[in-house]
């Protein structure tokens, strides 16, 4: 057992070493987005003053704001703005296909996906929302500790080539953010999205792609292997395949976009060679305003 212990610990330590940089980067990224708490623009439970209204029958006597009432003859009740904490559930594709970078200067897709997810979490947490991971392990909660737990959970990896989104544990009428390359079988995703829509969950599909996957810059006799090695495709002339591959990729994007439209979700595509900040801004806006149907 001692033999297996040591590698496990070593791996665990190596993993935890990656956490603080990821957190730091995510924090730095999140700081670029200036934001405030978003009020609901109507009276409700909250700390901020919203309006005084005349006392109506049924109001508790203790609810009367005597200071305001003393300045006039009528009696007023002080109302606070209603603030609603949303539950946002994250899902980042842990599959092997995300661990791809076509060039050593480019980040892996998984790396970018985690960064975006964690940065969004930070922003949401600062906005007072509750953030969690899909599945039952990490239900949505508030607080900085949740961010650390999310960061830890994001480090999990799967050995499979493609993973289907886990849509358990969704809070009804909550929000969800799915980050993946969506290169696997689209059927589970479709089912998951329909199920989510049925529960009133809306959200965002963030499609992360490597530039090589967009450009397909390959030539000559090539054997293409999936990242986990479960699939391979041999071609004699890779350059002949490019047009057809790009067609298929465009079709996949179209399918995702239409699926998102049908279910009230939002779809966005992000490439790892472009900056993470623009993607973060888009993601945050899409999550926070998507509920309003924007």
């Amino acid at each position: 057992m001692a033999q297996t212990d040591a590698p496990l610990r070593a791996r665990a330590e190596a993993e935890t070493e990656r956490l603080p940089p990821l957190l730091a980067r995510a924090d730095r990224l999140a700081r670029t987005v200036i934001m405030g708490e978003h009020g609901r623009r109507r009276a409700g439970t909250g700390d901020d003053f919203w309006q005084y209204r005349p006392v109506q029958p049924g109001d508790a006597r203790g609810a009367i704001d005597w200071r305001r009432s003393a300045r006039s003859d009528a009696q007023f009740v002080r109302q606070r703005e209603w603030k609603q904490a949303q539950s946002v559930m994250l899902w980042v594709d842990p599959a092997a296909s995300m661990r791809f970078a076509s060039h050593k200067d480019l980040p892996e897709k998984a790396d970018r996906a985690r960064l975006l997810a964690l940065a969004v979490s930070l922003l949401l947490e600062r906005g007072g929302e509750r953030v969690g991971m899909t599945g039952t392990a990490l239900p949505p909660r508030c607080g900085a500790a949740q961010i650390a737990r999310i960061a830890e959970a994001l480090m999990s990896e799967s050995g499979e080539d493609h993973a289907a989104p886990d849509m358990t544990g969704l809070v009804p009428h909550g929000r969800a953010l799915l980050i993946s390359d969506f290169l696997g079988d689209p059927a589970p995703l479709r089912a998951a999205l329909v199920a989510a829509a049925d529960r009133g969950v809306r959200g965002v599909l963030c499609h992360v792609l490597d530039p090589a996957e967009e450009a397909f810059p390959y030539r000559g006799r090539t054997i293409f292997q999936s990242m986990a090695g479960t699939m391979q495709h041999e071609t004699l002339r890779a350059d002949d395949l490019r047009a057809r591959y790009l067609d298929r990729l465009a079709a996949r994007k179209d399918a995702l976009a239409s699926l998102a439209a049908a279910t009230g979700w939002q779809y966005g595509c992000h490439h790892t060679d472009s900056g993470a900040q623009s993607a973060l801004l888009w993601l945050y806006r899409a999550i926070s305003e998507g509920g309003a149907g924007a």
Binding site: S97, M98, F100, K109, D161, H162, D181, L183, G184, D185, D210, A212, E213, F216, Y218, R219, G220, R221, T222, I223, F224, Q225, S226, M227, M231, Q232, H233, E234, T235, L236, R237, D240, L241, R244, Y245, R248, L249, R252
Partner: protein, 918 residues
């Protein structure tokens, strides 16, 4: 099979080249290995089929690379040979006869000729043929034997300094065996009479191939003195294009070293090139030989012998010349006779002799002072020729009267005699024919030479053998006596025309020539040579090198100049009874004619490119190409850089080679650095802090030395005892640490050498606790172990009168960072005692090999690069004073190392001054 200059050992293999196009097609059909790529989008690719079933073709350059590799391998295996030996007549199995004209003319291309012979023999050895070699300089019956055996004797084949005589060819032809012979004739390029007979005999036995160097034969005719200049004439066999040569005059310079004294460029237009070389007589007289530069054969060397020498003759007259009576001057006719061919010196006798003339003529000089007499006698005995002429003074004097004077050949009767004068009976006397043993033998006597007066010799027993010329009545005219290595000659008449008409005749000049008074340009006359034997002194070999003759037999004078050169008459310098004569290969009339061969005889040159097998190179090229193909194939399939190990191995291979060279260069640079300036050195202990402190300490000491003394050391150097040479450093600072490894035996050997040859090691235990207590501290114990194998004399604490206390500063103690106890140096000899009145003892000589202490001097000396002290010493002003004292100790120590006990000697100065004053 041959293709231009390239032949093939197995030409049928070249048919394999026809498979190359097939290979081309096959290689094109087979696609390159696929590139394996990780690609997440493979899910989107699944199910896509290739539209075109033909794969991507192999890149053309890769195809070309492979074809080249295969072609190189095929051609390489076919055994290509550059400049193959003629393999056309491979079936020949007749014996091979090599005829060599090994004359001096062949020496000009001897190496090439020998190489060609060697090639022919090795070819014959490959074919299993027997071979024989016949030298035409001394033909012998050819003995056919294994060609390899003959090859091993080739290095002994040398050219001879003579050519084959016409009859030699016939002799050689007679020696040839019957039966078929293939002949290779290596000609020397000169025409030879009688050669046709041998050629015909050889052609009757088989094919003959003539090898002849294309370089023309150049030769140098003997130099001739012409109007005071040396006329040189170079000849060549056959005409040709313009050719520039340089003739070098070799000789000895005044210091006696052989060197080239002059050079004369000559240009050939036709068969001859002439030029004149103007040289001062002194220089000309020293020339041994002329040589065509770069020709390297005996014909290009012309020995000058005595031919170019102008004698120096001192003339001394007995009475002052009377003004206006030149014709009566006793020296007038001598000058006229000698001046064209000799350099004349006139003056007082004692002034002449230091110039060491070849001859001295005393015209009517009777008495000589004692100094003159002895000087002249020494000079004659050393080989000088003294010629005296009689005259009124000699006749009137008492010289050699009762007793023969040393510098007179005979005793003289008083008064002399006059014959045929106005007051006497009888006619003037004429000369009798010269006796056979006279140096004048053979000279024609003009009839009009008459003698009217002479001095007469006393009839002594030795008179007859001393007479070398006499008058018709038998009275001596010229007598001669040998004295030591020289001779004394007396003409019994005057040197002017007063007593005889001899000086007016041509005979007078000839007689003087025979006496070697003037240089003889012309070859010695036959009459002079007849009956003499000339001994070779130095002879020329075929390459024109002068070698000592050793015990070679003498040569009869008749043959010397005219005889044909041969084994019994070599060119060289011959010593005769009176003079030296040079016998050259080329005489004044010798001409050179190029060899002509019948048109039917094939002639080949010697410049034949060596046979070079190319197969190995081509196979290596194929291997390199295949190696390149491996990398190219890897690159095409994208796996070149995944195999990073390969690249690493390659890089390592490339990086490994120059490493040793760098280390070597580093050693040299270090030695130069250490010796170009005074360098203080410290021993590297392996403890980084200690080493740095030692380095900084020596740096600080060096600064102080530069500021205050004339010693300006360069930056200090750390010395690894195992690796570095320590002999360059005047002094080693050795801080002792506990962890220091004990040096190896070799390092100790070097250290002991260093100590014995005057080096000094300053041991510093750095713990202020050594003296007196020895191994009390760990560092002290370590020091004992480190120093045990060293050759260290008995030690003592520095006595107060030790020279170390006053080499620069006057010091009482030697503090470093610690105010230490005594410092130990080599003990004074037990008998050292203080001299009365002297402040110091006269202590041991030399430098103490070791200084041992524990005061951590380096720390006190240490400064940073900017000059700030690195370590605190003591406290406050006292500490600074201590640091200053430490520096002063360092200065004293370095001064002690560099100047030894100089300051010990200084103490003697008062005593010396005191003694000198009295």
């Amino acid at each position: 099979m041959t293709l231009g200059a390239i032949g093939f050992a197995t030409p049928w293999l070249l048919w394999a080249l026809l498979t190359l196009p097939v290979l081309w097609l096959v290689l094109r059909a087979v696609p390159p290995a696929p590139v394996r790529r990780r690609f997440p989008g493979v899910a989107l690719l699944l199910g896509l089929r290739d539209e075109d079933s033909v794969s991507d073709r192999t890149p053309w350059w890769l195809l070309l690379l492979r074809m080249l590799a295969v072609a190189a391998a095929i051609v390489g295996l076919a055994g290509p040979v550059l400049n193959p030996r003629d393999a056309g007549g491979a079936a020949r199995n007749t014996p091979l006869l090599i005829v060599v004209e090994d004359s001096w003319a062949a020496a000009r291309d001897w190496q090439a000729q020998r190489d060609v012979i060697d090639g022919a023999l090795s070819e014959a050895a490959r074919d299993g043929r027997t071979a024989a070699l016949m030298r035409l300089s001394a033909p012998e019956r050819p003995v056919f034997r294994a060609a390899d055996d003959l090859r091993s004797r080739l290095p002994g084949l040398m050219p001879e300094p003579w050519r084959a005589r016409p009859e030699t060819y016939a002799e050689a032809a007679a020696l040839l065996p019957e039966g078929g012979i293939e002949t290779r004739w290596f000609s020397d390029g000169l025409a030879g009479d009688g050669r046709e007979a041998l050629l015909a005999a050889l052609e009757a036995r088989g094919p003959v191939v003539v090898h002849e160097s294309a370089r023309p034969v150049l030769a140098l005719a003997p130099p001739v003195l012409d109007e005071g200049m040396v006329a040189l004439r170079a000849i060549r066999a056959g005409a040709g294009g313009a050719l520039d040569i340089t003739i070098a005059a070799h000789g000895r310079d005044p210091a006696g070293a052989a060197r080239v004294l002059a050079r004369l460029p000559l240009g050939f237009a036709g068969a001859e090139a002439t030029g004149r070389l103007s040289l001062p007589p002194e220089l000309r007289a020293r020339i041994d030989r002329f040589e065509i530069e770069g020709a390297r054969h005996a014909g290009a060397v012309s020995l000058s012998g005595d031919g170019l020498r102008r004698r120096e003759v001192g003339l001394v007259a007995g009475r002052a010349d009377r003004e206006g009576l030149e014709l009566l001057s006793p020296l007038y006719y001598l000058r006229k006779a000698l001046a064209p061919n000799a350099d004349l010196i006139e003056g007082a006798l004692l002034d002449l002799l230091p110039a060491n003339p070849d001859a001295v003529v005393l015209a009517d000089v009777a008495t000589l002072s004692e100094a003159e007499d002895s000087a002249l006698r020494d000079w004659v005995e050393a080989g000088g020729v003294l010629v005296r002429f009689a005259g009124p003074r000699l006749a009137a004097s008492d010289v050699s009267r009762g007793q023969e004077a040393a510098l007179m050949p005979v005793r003289l009767r008083a008064g002399g005699r006059t014959v045929g004068g106005a007051m006497s009976w009888g006619a003037p006397k004429t000369l009798a024919p010269f006796p056979d043993d006279s140096p004048f033998r053979g000279l024609a006597i003009p009839e009009d030479v008459a003698v009217t007066a002479q001095v007469l010799a006393q009839p002594d027993p030795t008179l007859a053998e001393r007479v070398i010329a006499q008058l018709g009545d038998g009275t001596p005219l010229v007598t001669r006596k040998r004295l030591g290595a020289g001779q004394v000659v007396l003409f019994h008449v005057t040197a002017n025309a007063e007593w005889s008409s001899l000086p007016l005749s041509g005979l007078f000049v000839q007689m003087l020539e025979r006496l070697a008074l003037s240089s003889v340009q012309a070859a010695p006359a036959e009459a002079e040579l007849a009956g003499t034997v000339w001994q070779p002194v130095q002879v020329l070999d075929g390459f024109g090198r002068l070698i000592e003759a050793g015990t070679r037999a003498g040569v009869a004078g008749e043959r010397l100049l005219d005889g044909t050169l041969g084994p019994d008459l070599l060119p060289g310098i011959y010593q005769g009874p009176e003079r030296r004569v040079a016998r050259n290969v080329i005489g004044p009339e010798t001409g050179l004619a190029a060899a002509t061969w019948p048109a039917r005889v094939p002639i080949e040159g010697l410049a034949r490119a060596p046979e070079t097998p190319l197969g190995g190179w081509l196979l290596a090229l194929a291997l390199v190409l295949m190696l390149g193909d491996i990398f190219a194939a890897l690159a095409v399939s994208g796996r070149l850089w995944r195999g990073g190990v390969t690249a690493a191995v390659l890089v390592a291979l490339v990086a490994l080679a120059p490493h040793a060279a760098r280390a070597q260069a580093g050693d040299d640079a270090r030695a130069i650095e250490a010796t170009s300036e005074t360098v203080l050195a410290h021993v590297l202990t392996g403890d980084r802090a200690v080493d740095d402190a030692a380095r900084a300490g020596l740096r600080g000491l060096g600064r102080v030395l530069s500021f205050r003394t004339s010693v300006e050391p360069a930056a200090p150097i750390g010395v690894d005892l195992e690796r570095d040479d320590i002999a360059f450093y005047p002094m080693l600072y050795w801080p002792v640490t506990q962890t220091q490894p004990i040096p190896s035996a070799e390092a100790y050997a070097r250290l002991n050498d260093y100590l014995r040859s005057g080096g000094l090691i300053l041991f510093d235990t750095r713990d202020a606790d050594i003296a007196g207590y020895g191994a009390a501290s760990p560092n002290g114990a370590r020091l004992q172990r480190l120093a045990a194998p060293l050759d260290i004399p008995p030690l003592e604490p520095v006595p107060e009168d030790h020279v170390l206390t006053r080499t620069f500063y006057l010091l009482n103690d030697f503090p470093g960072r610690h105010m230490g106890r005594a410092v130990w140096v080599e003990a004074a000899p037990p008998d050292a005692a203080r001299v009365e009145g002297m402040p110091f003892r006269d202590l041991n000589d030399g430098v103490t090999p070791v200084v041992i202490g524990g005061n951590d001097w380096a720390a006190a000396w240490a400064v940073t690069e900017r000059g700030d002290p690195m370590f605190p010493v003591g406290r406050g002003f006292t500490g600074e004073r201590q640091r200053e004292m430490a520096y002063r100790f360092g200065v004293n120590l370095v001064m002690h190392v560099l100047t030894g006990n100089y300051k010990s000697d200084q103490v003697h100065v008062p005593a010396l001054l005191e003694r000198l004053g009295q």
